[in-house]
């Protein structure tokens, strides 16, 4: 309702020739923010966090809508069909947007969804149910070594961040595990809590949500997080592994460079707000700042990082 009303108001204003939109006063009206997943997940929640501060920074609103399907591919493959004026923006996730086109024909290429800003990541985390016999990551590795293939890792989706993490963990620790994909982080965690799955290959955020029902064994960050003071990083445990799902904001290809720059600045300004930072960190998100200017190099680095895992996924 609200969205339609706004769209009408804005359309009428434009029709009356109220203003010619240009990068100078971008954003001069409400922006459509499309989430390529179902509501309630990490992509939605972080966009909602941004939404709360969006109008303080820009003086305009942001209107969130959802276009779920095919692990994000439904929305990303349609991005090119929107007006390249900066008023339709979309959430984009990595490694998903690199994995999917390199493994299957999903109707888009990574270059089509190049973000203008990557604003946070949810670090990979291995979690087990609180009453699990596995007390440490080493217990999990020992179990997997003794029982090849018997350890089940539940995660969100196929060819997703969780899937890649399970593959890379197997390579690093030289063990064979069975990855079981679910339709999202929440159902995967439900299976961990219900005991149907041995461990969750998921994100720190899910560890926060489940509270003391689970034990987080290791997280893929550079340093320990304040919310999990007792949980070691993979680095501490001898694995050079920092990874997770990186989330950014993208616009249709062909959007003018000055608009991309402006949008990049908006997201950067929200990332600088202490209240936003606190809310993100409390919930297990780790802020990063990759602005528009550094994006091409950042994507190239990610591609190189994911390459060995992708080869394994292709072989499956």
């Amino acid at each position: 309702m609200k969205r339609n009303l706004r769209t009408i108001v804005v359309t009428v204003a434009l029709a009356l020739g109220a203003s010619v939109l240009n990068a100078e006063d971008y954003p001069a009206k409400a922006i459509d923010y499309i989430i390529p997943y179902n509501p309630g997940g990490e992509s939605d929640v972080t966009a909602r966090f941004q939404e709360k501060f969006w109008s303080d920074v820009t003086g305009q609103d942001v209107v969130i809508s959802y276009k779920p399907g095919a692990g994000g591919a439904t929305a990303w493959s349609q991005l090119g069909g929107f007006d390249a004026d900066g008023y339709t923006i979309m959430n984009v996730n990595f490694p998903h947007a690199i994995l999917q086109p390199s493994i299957k024909d999903v109707g888009y290429q990574t270059e089509d969804v190049t973000p203008v800003y990557v604003f946070h990541y949810t670090p990979d985390a291995i979690v087990v149910r609180a009453d699990s016999p596995h007390q440490t990551l080493q217990d999990v590795i020992d179990f997997a070594k003794d029982n090849p293939g018997a350890l089940t890792f539940g995660g969100s989706g196929t060819n997703s961040a969780n899937h890649l993490a399970a593959v890379r963990f197997g390579q690093m620790a030289d063990v064979k595990v069975t990855y079981v994909p679910f339709g999202g982080s929440a159902p995967a965690m439900a299976a961990v809590l219900g005991g149907q799955i041995g461990a969750g290959m998921t994100y720190t955020t899910q560890g926060v949500k489940a509270g003391d029902q689970v034990r987080v064994l290791a997280i893929a960050t550079e340093e320990r997080l304040d919310i999990f003071p007792d949980v070691p990083t993979f680095k501490e445990l001898g694995f050079d592994y920092v990874a997770g799902a990186y989330r950014g904001v993208t616009v249709p290809a062909g959007t003018p460079d000055d608009v991309r720059e402006k949008l990049s600045d908006v997201i950067a300004s929200i990332n600088d707000i202490p209240a936003f930072q606190a809310q993100m960190q409390e919930n297990g998100y780790v802020l990063v700042d990759v602005p528009n200017a550094e994006m091409v190099d950042w994507i190239a680095a990610r591609k190189a990082d994911y390459a060995p895992g992708i080869e394994t996924l292709k072989g499956n």
Binding site: M1, K2, R3, N38, P39, G40, G41, D44, V45, R48, F49, E51, K52, I64, S65, Y66, K67, P68, G69, A70, G71, A73, T74, S77, Q78, Q100, I103, K104, D105, V106, G107, Y108, G149, A150, L151, T152, T158, N159, T178, V180, P181, F182, G183, A186, P187, M189, A190, A191, L193, G194, G195, Q196, I197, K209, A210, G211, D212, Q213, Q279, N283
Partner: protein
């Protein structure tokens, strides 16, 4: 708890609950505008509110929208939300024969009763009941979906074979797009728009509403029968009498709805169908189902409204959303700085209880709002000439299928499936089995593949599929449903004469 009740009864919260129910009911009544969408659009407004008030307004919209779906199901044979699929099966025949007013009133009473029981379960039994959600793993989902598919035999009113063919068509349609597990791209014919599969809401509108529209245009008689005597008010006394006689059905359906609501990913459509099929199985007059049985409407509405309270149980206790609208509300909770989980009931109990009382009040407010809106909706549909009604509904179907994702492709899907649905209806293939196949197919597929993977890891696939207590229970229910349907009865009759 008393403080929480008083807080929920504050003027502000009462007003919000009332407005929420009102807006929700209207949105739910329009085909295509679903509870999920209503909640998603209104979330930002709650950011400025006090957490419990924000939650009350979202809960009220949600519960109103689930109820609102009954109007279009009864009056136009189009479930306004998937939760109202079973309502249409008897509600529309009732309206067709001139009892639309009664159908609207009993659907309202059924929803209030079911919603109240669901909310009471949330209030008093949330932490223990949340364990139900955890006992459902991939295998249980697989068998639950099979159980749901077995209901086709019950729903297809005698023509079991045609029902099964319809179910198979639905399953085939559910295969379109990127596979739930494995990510293989199937039957998209190069259309990227089909990657996400056939969208359920446009399919629902197409299969149910388009055939009604076509019939409306090609047949001379009125859309709904109008009885000789003029408007008879709400027929509330009559409806209350029916409710009292069906009290066992009401309670059983509400319990089914609460339990199905707790199980993540199942939702109102499954609850309505299970309760409907149980009501029919235990009824003394099962032959009346599908032809306008009161108990069919009561079962569907009591159970789908009970899923609201039930769905909040795993959402608040475990942080696992029970239904899609719960997922959005969960996101709104995080933005408000509320941490879900078992500690929520101890550390932030005041918010939880104020919200639960608010939900309860909203459910009760559904009685006056629902009756009044229902009366006007019924009057509108019977009194408008078909020449105005048909284009108005046609317009709504297009708006409804477009609105979900602002996607014109969904309109194309809606119209295409609608025409196919009309053609299939002419050879006796009804919409319900097809839609059931479409909704349950992905649940069955994901459950099967996940179960296969887990069973393989444990080197005991047989035990995985056939050795779990809950699965065995669901299998037994499936057998019971199949045996009480026409599937085996007719065979038995054929054998008798010889």
């Amino acid at each position: 708890m008393l403080d929480a009740l008083l807080a929920a009864l504050s003027l502000e919260n009462l007003t919000l609950a009332f407005l929420g129910v009102l807006v929700g009911t209207i949105i739910g009544a329009l085909p295509g505008l679903s509870a999920t969408m209503a909640v998603a659009v209104l979330v930002p407004f709650t950011f400025t509110m006090d957490p419990s008030s924000g939650l009350i307004v979202l809960g009220a919209i949600y519960t109103g929208a689930i109820y609102g779906g009954a109007y279009s199901a009864i009056l136009v044979n189009t479930p306004g939300t998937p939760a109202a699929i079973a309502t249409a099966m008897d509600g529309f025949p009732m309206a067709k024969r001139g009892d639309g007013d009664l159908a609207v009133t009993i659907s309202c009473l059924g929803s209030v009763a079911g919603g109240t029981i669901g909310a009471l379960a949330l209030l008093f039994l949330a932490p223990p009941l949340s364990q139900i959600a955890l006992s459902f793993g991939p295998i249980e989902y697989f068998w639950l979906a099979i159980f749901g598919l077995s209901l086709i035999a019950t729903l297809s009113r005698g023509a079991t074979l045609l029902g099964l063919i319809g179910g198979a068509i639905g399953l085939l349609l559910s295969c379109v797009g990127s596979a739930v597990v494995g990510g293989d791209v199937r039957y998209t014919f190069g259309q990227t728009a089909l990657l996400g599969g056939i969208p359920v809401i446009p399919a629902l509108i197409g299969f149910y509403c388009v055939p009604v529209l076509i019939e409306m245009v090609i047949r001379p008689e009125a859309h709904l029968e109008q009885r000789a005597e003029r408007m008879r008010g709400f027929r509330l006394i009559e409806a209350l009498g029916l409710m009292w006689r069906s009290k066992v059905n009401v309670i059983r359906s509400a319990v089914v709805g609460t339990a199905v609501g707790i199980i993540p990913a199942a939702g109102g459509s499954v609850a309505g169908l299970v309760a409907y099929s149980e009501a029919r199985r235990t009824s003394k007059t099962p032959e009346e189902f599908g032809k306008g049985a009161h108990d069919g409407v009561i079962a569907s509405e009591a159970s789908n409204s009970a899923t609201v309270g039930g769905g909040f149980i795993p959402t608040l206790v475990l942080g696992i959303p029970g239904t899609p609208p719960d997922a959005i509300i969960l996101g709104a909770l995080l933005v408000q700085g509320i941490r879900t989980g078992p500690q929520l009931f101890t550390q932030q109990a005041d918010i939880v209880f104020t919200f639960t009382f608010g939900l309860l009040i909203a459910t009760l407010l559904m009685l006056p709002t629902g009756l009044i809106i229902g009366r006007y909706a019924y009057r509108l549909i019977v009194s408008i000439p078909k020449t105005a009604l048909a284009p108005a509904i046609a317009f709504l179907t297009i708006v409804g299928s477009f609105a979900i994702e602002a996607n014109t492709f969904h309109v194309v899907i809606m119209v295409t499936l609608g025409i196919i649905g009309w053609l299939l209806a002419r050879v006796g293939l009804e919409a319900s089995p097809i839609v059931l196949g479409l909704i349950l197919g992905p649940i069955a597929e994901a459950g099967f593949v996940q179960g296969w993977l887990i069973g393989g890891a444990q080197e005991d696939r047989f035990g995985m599929f056939f050795g779990q207590p809950i699965s065995l229970g669901i299998m037994a229910m499936t057998m019971l449903t199949l045996m009480s349907s026409g599937l085996f009865k007719r065979k038995a009759q054929k054998e008798q004469p010889s």
